[in-house]
């Protein structure tokens, strides 16, 4: 059992990466596996540094493929296991993630998106959204939380372990390198103090009892012999996913109720939208934010309602429409016109959105 470091609420001023490590400790994660990549390194560094105090375990593997698969080993052994990665590491870790998807293993993945494609830049982007949500050769049977602050990183890292172990779908905390490297105050707490019970884990292998005597031996697989078996599995997973989606979906709005222009953004870009909304509202322009917190499953109904109410929609991301694609699929049939402000791999600030909205506003008035 991992030792708790935080028993009483403690405000700490730290980076997002440190926050993830502290949150994983608070969630009593047993073991982290990882491979260095900027901008997630400090998750690992912090976790490693805390080991003497936490009594948890850590393994630095030979690559992200190994980190991903070793994490599945940890999960199969019944441990709260997680890993963190980014960019090209995230790309090759899809190998393991797709195994988790098929075997419904409750692994937790923390992804700090960096520039893409390829090696690109080491810090920031929102270009790993499609990868997190639909990566691999599968159907996106994953749960993906997108955070926007260090407090979020704390809260959702804890939550991700519970979501994973409760529903048995691999679960992502998707942030970006700005969040990972950014320093801001976080209130750290013991989940129990918030009424959060950690969902108990149980082992697939080395469970209690003698295999073949007290219990059947564990026999789990990801390969099927025939198409029919696969179809059946996929249909089951889809049914389950649809059933649990309403319990998982989360979103956040800011002054969206009466917004004529609805800005849709996730993660840290949504913060800049808040700044812009405040500025624009002061000027009397009715703007609001719709921020999907779960990118998968998406909170479709609230999204459609918010879009329907608005006169115009603006998608903004530090990517070329990866969030927009996910939303538009679910917005089919609506007719509110939309515009886009994409800055792949580049930070978006409030001022950018202010400018863009004003221009849209002008068009709205003239047409």
């Amino acid at each position: 059992m991992v030792n708790k470091l935080i028993t009483e609420d403690t405000k700490l001023f730290m980076t997002g990466n440190e926050t993830v490590a502290y949150a994983a400790v608070a969630a009593q994660a047993d073991i982290m596996y990882g491979y260095p990549i900027t901008p997630q390194n400090e998750v690992m560094h912090t976790w490693a540094k805390l080991l003497p105090k936490t009594g948890a375990l850590f393994l630095q593997t030979e690559d992200e493929i190994s980190a991903g698969f070793a994490t599945l080993g940890g999960v199969v052994a019944g441990k709260r296991a997680f890993t963190a990665t980014a960019g090209p590491g995230h790309v090759i870790m899809q190998d393991a993630m797709s195994m988790a998807e098929m075997m419904r293993l409750p692994a937790v993945y923390v992804v700090l998106a960096r520039g893409g494609p390829s090696t690109a830049t080491v810090i920031y982007s929102q270009q790993e959204t499609t990868l997190a949500v639909f990566g691999g050769n599968g159907e996106g049977f994953r749960i993906v939380y997108s955070t926007w602050s260090n407090q979020d990183l704390y809260d959702y890292t804890i939550k991700s372990f519970n979501t994973a172990w409760k529903y048995r779908y691999p679960t992502y905390v998707l942030a970006d390198g700005y969040q990972g490297k950014m320093r801001e105050p976080v209130v750290c707490y013991d989940p129990a103090s918030r009424g959060i019970t950690m969902v108990p884990t149980d082992p697939y292998v080395r469970a209690k009892g003698r295999p073949g005597v007290d219990r059947p031996p564990c026999h789990i697989r990801n390969a099927f012999s025939v198409e029919e078996e696969l179809l059946e599995a996929m249909e089951d997973y889809q049914k389950d996913f649809d059933r649990i989606a309403p319990e998982i979906e989360e979103y956040y709005t800011y002054k969206a109720d009466d917004a004529e222009i609805l800005v849709i953004a996730h993660g840290i870009v949504a913060r800049s939208v808040v700044t812009a909304v405040d500025i624009l509202r002061e000027e009397g322009i009715k703007v609001g934010l719709f921020r999907p917190v779960t990118l998968r499953p998406l909170a479709v109904k609230p999204l459609r309602e918010a879009v329907s109410r608005a006169k115009q929609v603006l998608f903004t991301e530090s990517a070329l429409g990866q969030l927009a694609r996910i939303c538009l699929e679910q917005m089919y049939g609506l007719t509110t016109p939309y515009d886009t402000y994409y800055r792949p791999g580049y930070g978006i600030v409030g001022e950018d959105i202010v400018q863009k909205v004003k221009q849209m506003q002008k068009n709205l008035v003239t047409t």
Partner: protein
């Protein structure tokens, strides 16, 4: 108080991020809302490194900002890269005249040249260059107290100071010298 936005740019080895960290730490000690975000190149050393700090009494939205209230540039390349954060009407620009061979060509509310590197090398020690800059920022922004700043420095270097108490003096001296480089809090 409104939000103070400080952009600080320099070469990889100049300690830009360390300065910003102490700055925001000091503000945090004063219970302000703070957010600090580093931006650096792919090189471990040698690229331009920029620190974006925001200090405010109200909750802070955006993590980065378009224009800084104070923009500090510690090298020629930083001068070039950070020009984009300068608002011609609102930003105060501070740059190190003893390192920068080029001069700012952009417009700004105020442009202040300081010979920080020279001062460090000649009068103090190259190691406390960053304290001078910190002093400059403290004075120029006027948003944090010197005492919180010293406390933050203490937190950061406590163990080093224990081994060599004279280091504490040197650092604090540098901080003050830095403050002296600025006449009065900039009007931000």
């Amino acid at each position: 108080m409104a939000r103070s936005r400080i952009a600080l740019g320099g070469e990889g080895g100049q300690g830009v991020q360390a300065i910003a960290k102490i700055l925001v730490e000091a503000a945090y000690l004063e219970n302000k809302n703070v957010i600090y975000i580093p931006n650096f190149g792919i090189e471990q050393r040698g690229g331009v490194s920029i620190a974006f700090s925001q200090i405010s009494d109200d909750p802070i939205g955006e993590a980065k900002f378009a224009k800084g209230d104070i923009v500090i540039m510690l090298s020629d390349r930083a001068l070039e890269r950070c020009a984009q954060y300068v608002d011609p009407d609102k930003s105060i620009v501070i740059y190190d005249t003893s390192v920068c061979e080029t001069k700012p060509t952009f417009k700004a509310k105020d442009i202040i040249g300081i010979p920080a590197t020279k001062m460090a090398l000649e009068d103090l020690s190259p190691r406390v260059f960053n304290m001078i800059i910190l002093g400059v920022i403290v004075k120029a922004t006027g948003i944090i107290q010197v005492d919180s700043c010293k406390k933050a420095i203490e937190d950061a270097f406590g163990s080093k100071f224990k081994d060599k108490p004279e280091l504490r003096e040197l650092n604090f001296k540098a901080l003050e010298e830095g403050m002296n480089l600025i006449k009065s809090p900039a009007q931000v």
